[in-house]
Symmetry: C2
């Protein structure tokens, strides 16, 4: 899956998506329609503060939507990826695939050389 | 290539290596024994200042070595990955492979479901 231009794949990584915690959030949301705050926290082993901070960055970028509901008297925060968020995650994954393909190519060249 | 623990692969990413520019530097150095400053700058489309900053972070982490030489009167700065740097890059790539494998699994499940 080569790209159209010859720039290094890391040039096509967007820090908003690439950052470790945010990449984790978008990866979990890519597998589920929505996840609640506690689920994301456990899945990624984050503190409340750390998850909140990165959720805010992704929300401000338009990559996720945050919806607060009540179950009885218990508040729950539901998070889902937007269409733009899914597209941004797909671009990140495409660039990472290219990066890894480059590693594999160079490993094979080395074995031949 | 599943990991031994069931933590999310993004938990095994190290910000020192994962950061976009530094990941690019280590990827280029994984393919070459050494690269000079100008080559890295062009390959990753970076400014002097941006490359310098990230080279310094990687050097302080023990992941690269910087060697200054002269060719005639022209100074050149050679950069190479250390053994620790190659190992850290390999761990990053392993975690990214896992992340992508998860994406592919969930895509296939979706197609079946």
């Amino acid at each position: 899956m080569a790209s159209d231009d010859d720039s290094h794949p890391t040039q096509r990584l967007d820090d908003t998506v690439h950052q470790r915690v945010r990449l984790g959030i978008l990866a979990v949301l890519a597998e589920a329609d929505q996840a609640d705050f506690g689920f994301l926290k456990d899945a990624l082993n984050l503190t409340d503060g750390n998850l909140s901070r990165h959720v805010q960055v992704l929300e401000e970028a338009g990559f996720i939507e945050v919806r607060k509901t009540f179950e009885g008297r218990r508040p729950r925060t539901w998070i889902s990826a937007t269409k733009a968020g899914r597209a941004a995650f797909a671009s990140e994954v495409a660039a990472l695939r290219e990066l890894i393909a480059g590693v594999d190519r160079s490993r094979n060249d080395g074995a031949r050389g």
